[in-house]
Symmetry: C2
Subunit: 204 residues, 2 copies
Amino acid sequence: MNGISQITEVLAAPTPDAWLQLACERWQELLVDHAYCEKKAASSALAMMFAYPEEESLALALARLAREELRHFEQVNRLMRKLGVPFRRLQPGRYAGQLRAAAAAHEPARRLDLLLIAALIEARSCERFGRLAPLLPAPLGGFYADLQQAESRHFSLYLQFAADACDAREPLRWQQRLEELAKLEAELVCAPDLQFRFHSGPPV
Amino acid sequence: MNGISQITEVLAAPTPDAWLQLACERWQELLVDHAYCEKKAASSALAMMFAYPEEESLALALARLAREELRHFEQVNRLMRKLGVPFRRLQPGRYAGQLRAAAAAHEPARRLDLLLIAALIEARSCERFGRLAPLLPAPLGGFYADLQQAESRHFSLYLQFAADACDAREPLRWQQRLEELAKLEAELVCAPDLQFRFHSGPPV
């Protein structure tokens, strides 16, 4: 089973068509928010490196992942320049904040939740890039197809660390928790949303 | 004038010999703190990307710089593994926190201060790597000689952004502020220090 087929099984609902249609119309705003998302993904990976510094393998994997997110940030910025899309400040959407608010406050449950939430965000990004790629003209469509592959790798990485750390006596715990969080994640991308963002719901 | 000769002019005092001697004795602890410093340097660059998102050139330069710091973090970790240096949690030293506490609270002075403080931290790192390199055996000495070059580039980058943004009516403002902050920086690395860290003062 490759990463991308696994992702469609993990996500509790596909992206609504109404969001895809809006994203094709508002692709400029999508790019501005996308740049923010790449920067935020790097920053979240770094935050985990600071939270769990004694986990050497995790730290090395997250450092590499953060470097890749930063390279994507640079690529999105260069594409914005090329396509004449001006930067503007956007308020963050509801998605990542509400997902992170669902993370347990205490360890070791918090670590598991943060890894699973990061995996779900990567999974949703992968799904959206994959569905947007054939709908958008070059160079955007091809760029998103490339990014789909990267997000799929990041999803697998976060999921692997979540699974590896689960207590051998509770081997199904991470799957159960993933299902719970995937349900919340699907609600956030399916419920009507006043804002338009890379991870928003369909328009009201 | 190359970056490294400029650095010896910018720093208000050289690293005390007593610190260098201690660093050669406690090179294992130095490596552990060094890994933390690289991670922290990436995190500080990202924090500036979030604080000034509308500055496209700064964002791109900082993203590249953060990627380089993360690569160094990975290199330090691999070296620790190779040399059998175990990770341990260290309390951060006084240096970066006290320097950042000196930054102005309001803009545009804060932006200038943050860039100059980042430049000074890179300058001090460059100076210490340069002085440690000939004192330490391989592979550590050669690694530090390589890092000296990178830190010199980062110093120049931060300084250039600080200088570029200064009001044309106050072209000397950044130099004056750099001198003030360099004086504080020198006090922090010259005053006796209870802790031993990459940026600490000499032992009490």
